[in-house]
Symmetry: C2
Subunit: 64 residues, 2 copies
């Protein structure tokens, strides 16, 4: 399985926001994340970068 962990980039570093993410899609003014267990999370964020071989998705917060 090629899911990834999603991290939110913050001033202090990176915060894990969801494990085993499968789908990331735009929704309203942010992103919907869905993991392989069917759990969903909405974040006011955009994709910053990907490191797929390391199973990492980095997100950045959007300005309020």
């Amino acid at each position: 399985m090629c899911e990834a962990n999603a991290y939110l980039i913050t001033d202090g570093g990176e915060t894990l926001v969801m494990e085993a993410v499968d789908e990331v899609s735009p929704e309203k003014d942010g992103l919907k994340l869905v993991n392989i267990f069917g759990e969903q999370k909405f974040l006011r964020a955009a994709v910053h970068s990907l490191s797929l071989v390391d199973h990492k998705v980095f997100l950045r917060e959007l300005a309020p």
Copy 2:
């Protein structure tokens, strides 16, 4: 390995722009893609969505 294929969303559908993508990172006014073979590509685009279990990264062109 958990690389993915990158597709650019166009009016007509989806165009494969790079196979076996590992790293996607912001660069200037677009994205730099690097695949597992070390090949690089720059696109004036942003990440639209991800479908990681299907090994797919969807990109959208940025307005000129």
